[in-house]
């Protein structure tokens, strides 16, 4: 695997749209060619090389290409946009749409990422060492097809609307999440090691939510269904089990009505 390192040299005055910073766009290109790729600041188009120093050549394919992004990219959007393979390491914090519409490969964000990361993600892996913004792994506006595959790990906290319209894949959030977790979800699995606030699993049709911490306000549509033992990441614990959303439509599989499942860890006395 070849590594391309891009380092910020000129910060954009406004925000930079850099949807070409992905192994797919870099593949098969030399450092000089990569520097010629387009980026957009508002309604002006210029080259990646205007804002970044580029060193190293890309591999022949996306899968053979690793990108390391250095410097302050807090005002850079679309890192890893639509990537299908390869690796992307973001050493600091990034703005909107990290890994949005990604289908494969691996992204490691060492800082925070802003909203809309992993929008409609289909595959691959996204690791966020800091915090994630709102709409992590959610669907694009109006679409009923959110995250459908792949894995997301957030070591910090995540914002609101995480996993909206999720249909598959897995997400683990080590910290807390804000309101509206897995709204409209119809599949997939989300584990929150910290606390959730309210509106958890609203309008959920199918899928699984596991909460280790507290939930401020339960949705009335989630009905208590007893207690279960679960083993997660090697930890065994007892969880209250809820099914829902009882107000929402329900699917049937082989004659059996399907509900979404919510497990909340019973805090030890």
């Amino acid at each position: 695997m070849e590594t391309v390192t891009i380092t910020v040299k000129n910060a954009p005055a406004l925000y930079l749209e850099a949807d070409n910073i992905s192994p797919d766009a870099f593949a098969g290109k030399t450092a000089a060619q990569i520097a010629e790729l387009s980026v957009h600041e508002g309604n002006t188009t210029s080259t990646l090389g205007k804002y970044f120093d580029v060193s190293g050549n890309a591999g022949a394919t996306a899968a053979d290409t690793k990108i390391v992004v250095r410097g302050d990219v807090k005002k850079v959007k679309y890192l890893g946009f639509k990537m299908s393979a390869g690796e992307l390491v973001i050493e600091g914090s990034a703005d909107l749409y990290v890994g949005a519409w990604m289908t494969g490969g691996k992204i490691l964000a060492k800082g925070d990422v802003a909203a809309f990361a992993a929008t409609a993600m289909k595959g691959g892996e996204l690791i966020i060492e800091g915090n994630a913004g709102n709409y992590l792994g959610a669907a694009y506006r109006g679409d009923w097809r959110g995250m459908s595959g792949g894995k997301i790990l957030v070591k910090g906290n995540a914002g609101s609307d995480v996993g909206m319209f999720m249909t598959g894949g897995e997400m683990v959030i080590n910290g807390n999440v804000d309101v509206h977790l897995c709204t409209h979800a119809e599949g997939g699995k989300v584990t929150v090691k910290g606390n959730a606030t309210s509106k958890v699993g609203g309008q959920m049709v199918d899928g699984q939510i596991i909460i280790f911490g507290s939930i401020d306000t339960m949705m009335p549509g989630f009905k208590p269904a007893g207690e279960v033992e679960l083993e997660i990441d090697g930890i065994k614990a007892t969880f209250s089990h809820f099914i829902g959303d009882m107000g929402e439509r329900h699917k049937k599989k082989k004659g059996v009505v399907i509900y979404a499942n919510l497990y909340k860890k019973i805090s030890s006395p």
Partner: protein, 438 residues
Amino acid sequence: MTKTITDVICPFCGTLCDDLEVVVSDDGKKLLEVYNSCVIGTEKFLHSQSPDRVTLPRMHQEDGSWKEISYDEAVEYSAQMLAKAKKPLMFGWSSTNCEAQSVGNEIAEISRSCCDNTAATCHGTSLIAIQDAGLPSCTLGEIKNRADRVIFWGCNPAHAHPRHMSRYSIFPRGFFTGKGQMSRKLLVVDPRITDTARMADVHLQIEQGKDYELLNALRVALKGEWLPDVVAGIPSEKIRETADILKSGRFGIIFFGMGVTQSLGKNHNIDEAIALTKDLNEHTKFSIMPMRGHYNVTGSGEVFAWQFGFPYAVDLTRGFARYNPGDTSTIDLLTRGEIDAMFTIGSDPGAHFPISAVQHIAAVPSVCVDPHLTPTSGVSKLHVPVAFNGVECGGNCYRMDNVPIDCRKVVESPEGMLTDEEFLIKVRDRLKQLKGVA
């Protein structure tokens, strides 16, 4: 002698009453009386007659004073600003006509701007919900003729849409509602005891920020499923009773306002209310409608949609249209410091936006096109007064139920004043010169 003009449309709120009568002087230059309108509408008409009205564009000077300039100079400043900016924002559009909006869209396209309307702070969340969940709705005449269950959720038409209840929703006797108010059950959901709530047959005094939970509970109750004892401060028996009232009607309607679109849950509240409406259609007929505020915010969404494909928060900076509230929406653009020029028309963000957003308006080159002196005109570099749309010029507007009504001109504007559309056409033509497009 005076003249009376009938069937006049009121350019104030989304109710867009079109039965006003306006008395003007024989020469058509003075507006004397306004009949049939509510007190706010009357003021809107009479305000055009104010003697201290600003009639010339004004530039903000460095010492804070204002200097009167010509329209040509105002056109030049506006066109230069839009031509130079990397990411201009053209915001407002809700208090002007569709013809002006259409010219504005051309300008936005040529200058590759972001463009947005006041849905940004009102019913933008409703639009997001409609995109996620749909919208079973109807025109206001359907309510008048058929509705026997009327819910006002998070809105207070008694104050915000004063003639709504008498024209459409509560009092009128329609084809199938011959007993008027007696034919209808009125339900109000509001944490406050508003004047609308005081009229209600059922007032659910909900805990603030728990609309999503209560709407969900109503859906659960419709399905006859288990409920916790109390949801959002309302006992479950009361919720079940309410669900029964709703499904026992022949034709129901949920009207909702900013109490539910801009409180915790935002678009999801509306999404769940739409889902409740959809569920109720398994039992009877039910519709849902946003109580749109500005008289033509709906029209702005319509024009944006048929020209660009999206109803608000449209970003044209890359040369094609994009849309994603949170990224392309005005408050986010301003508070994140994403834009470098601000063009405001037919709206007063200075009065309604968070202070950090207003500070950004003040920090960049800015134009405010508005017949009034407003907090926005106060923080803008250039203020361009124009004729009162719907009073001094006509033009098409869309009511809250999307019904288009062509406004009427009832009185002459002060001599030499341009309309929104006329000013925008001048800006567009100058911008075309600057950008070298045909």
